[in-house]
């Protein structure tokens, strides 16, 4: 090892981890998270390269296009930190290899991370918060409603209990397994986690649907014998839900338009009735 080149310390990796929370602040269409990646890696570059010229050269290396899942970005940062360390120490690493390894790690993490965190976990965490409102009993109908604290907390805990361990462990695990990124990717078991969370989401939706119908029935004072009144109370809810299921199939992601249009239709119909 070249004695003039210090090795990375755990405090450097901790700084990289904390900076990875700002990965997307300088997001651009051309380079996406590239500037953010370089920003997160600065503590490593400062430690490894003694003069401004070498640091600038290393910074330029990481300012290009980079895109991965932000929660899993730590694994790539750790891996690249290890490769930069080897390059600075004069070992077997060069610009091309660093770029190659970076891309080889970033693309699969993005492909697995987006469906796991954005498509499955985040909606599930929101649903758990909503479920909290239906399931938490109102302690005092005339007093403060503590559900305003319980629901967001449930959401935050559900999401961060899964996501934060990946964020905090990412850099050090990526650094430790710098030689075997494929093995690291397999060890994360993201696909298994996604299928568990998908089932949990569908389960929570079923529980929420029944609980909400029960709450609506109880607040409207419905009984099993009063079917006509029950149909009248539930008709707008059921029609809204059925219409939305069809509409979202035709126009996915158009939540705002579908909601406002449904509301408008309902108000027009009620004005005519």
């Amino acid at each position: 090892m070249n004695e003039r080149t210090p090795a990375l310390r755990s405090s450097d990796l901790a700084r990289v981890t904390s900076r990875s929370f700002y990965l997307q602040a300088f997001f651009t269409a051309e380079r996406q998270q590239g500037p953010g990646f370089a920003f997160a890696l600065l503590p490593v570059l400062r430690r490894l390269y003694p003069d401004d010229e070498a640091r600038g050269k290393a910074l330029q290396r990481h300012l290009g296009f980079f895109s991965t899942h932000p929660v899993l970005s730590g694994y790539v940062l750790g891996l690249v930190a290890r490769l930069e360390e080897r390059l600075a120490q004069g070992e077997d690493a060069d610009d091309g290899r660093i770029e190659q390894m970076k891309r080889a790690m970033a693309s699969p993490l993005a492909a697995m991370g987006d469906p796991l965190f954005w498509v499955t976990l985040r909606p599930l965490a929101g649903l758990v918060g909503v479920l909290g409102m239906v399931l938490t009993p109102l302690a005092d109908p005339a007093g403060p409603d503590w559900r305003v604290l319980v629901c967001p907390l449930l959401s935050l805990l559900t999401y961060n209990a899964v996501a934060l361990p990946f964020r905090f462990a990412g850099v050090s695990r990526g650094y430790a397994s710098g030689e075997e990124p494929g093995k690291l990717l397999r060890s994360l078991r993201l696909t298994d986690l996604k299928s568990v969370l998908e089932r949990a989401g569908a389960f929570a939706f079923g529980a929420l649907a029944v609980s909400t119908v029960a709450v609506l029935a109880s607040s409207a004072g419905l009984s099993a014998r009063d079917l006509g009144h029950a149909a009248l109370v539930f008709a707008p809810f059921a029609l809204g839900a059925a219409g939305a299921v069809v509409a979202f199939r035709l126009w996915p992601g158009r939540g705002v338009e579908v909601s406002l249009l449904s509301l408008l239709l309902a108000l027009i119909l009620s004005a005519r009735a």
Binding site: S20, F21, Y22, Q24, A25, F27, P35, A38, D51, G56, K57, L59, L63, W118, V119, T120, P123, G126, G129, V130, M133, P144, V148, L149, C151, P152, S155, Y159, N160, A163, R199, G201, A202, F203, A204, F205, G206, A207, L208, V210, S211, A214, F237, A238, L239, G240, A241, A242, G243, A244, V245, R249, P252, G255, V256, V258, S259, L260, S270, A271
Partner: protein
């Protein structure tokens, strides 16, 4: 009023950073934003009960309605982070101002519907504003490259922190502007249609929005998921059994 504006701006700024800068701690979701706005805004002791319940209703509806289970590249630009804050702020500040002409009816449902509509509408221009702010980063790339060429790491860091500050400002400005526009629209429109704002009509609007929210949740959690219907049925059966056992027979 100024204190309320400052609180809305602060909250909007923090949530915008969570959403756009990369914190991604779930703070930027409408349920959290709406509930935090409810806790931050203080319309006075006489509104204490509603100041907590209305944000919860708005947050729940917006959370389900604005959940987009598409991959990020396929998603439409919607600013969901400030939608909850704007929805709640419009509802609470509107309720405070318009109470003489529109008394709190049907358990505050009117203001839940008003806040939800405000949040939905605000998410669209908020998304455009977010895209425009990000586009401005492109013009700063040259300066970033220049800093790297000259080895000025500290200057690069200053430029980078500047983009974080811009994200905070964007969230703060849009939260305040969206709230001001929403309250102005509510003040201009609602008193004119006060006679049409009846309890049954508000109940109908709320029920339809709740139905659409469930349709959206079904789309996000059940459709297209492996064995989604089976797991949803299992969840429904479990909830039913628990309610029957805990509720002494009747759900």
């Amino acid at each position: 009023m100024l204190v309320d504006v400052a609180r809305v701006a602060l909250l909007g700024g923090i949530l915008a950073v969570d959403r756009t800068a990369g914190w991604n701690l779930m703070l930027g979701q409408p349920l959290i934003g709406a509930c935090l706005a409810g806790a931050f805004l203080n319309p006075g002791p006489q509104w204490e009960l509603w100041a907590l319940r209305i944000p919860l209703g708005i947050g729940v509806l917006l959370q389900l309605l604005l959940t987009d289970a598409s991959l990020p590249a396929a998603q439409r630009p919607r600013d969901v982070a400030t939608a909850g804050v704007i929805g709640t702020s419009v509802a609470l500040l509107g309720m405070q101002q318009l109470h003489p002409t529109l008394p709190v009816s049907t358990g505050g449902l009117l203001w839940v519907v008003v806040g939800t509509v405000a949040g939905l509408v605000a998410s669209v221009p908020g998304g455009w504003y977010e895209v425009a702010t990000r586009a401005r980063n492109e013009s700063r790339l040259k300066r970033v490259d220049e800093c790297a060429r000259q080895g000025r790491l500290a200057s690069f860091e200053v430029l980078y922190w500047g983009s974080v500050v811009r994200a905070i400002l964007r969230g703060a400005i849009w939260s305040v502007a969206g709230t001001a526009l929403g309250v102005a629209c509510a003040t201009a429109v609602l008193p004119r249609i006060a006679s049409a704002v009846t309890g049954p009509r508000i109940g109908l609007a709320f029920a339809v929005l709740l139905g659409v929210a469930f349709g959206s949740a079904f789309h996000a959690h059940v459709r297209g998921r492996a064995n989604g219907l089976r797991w949803a049925a299992a969840g429904a059966a479990t909830a039913l059994v628990l309610m029957l056992r805990l509720g002494g027979g009747a759900p």
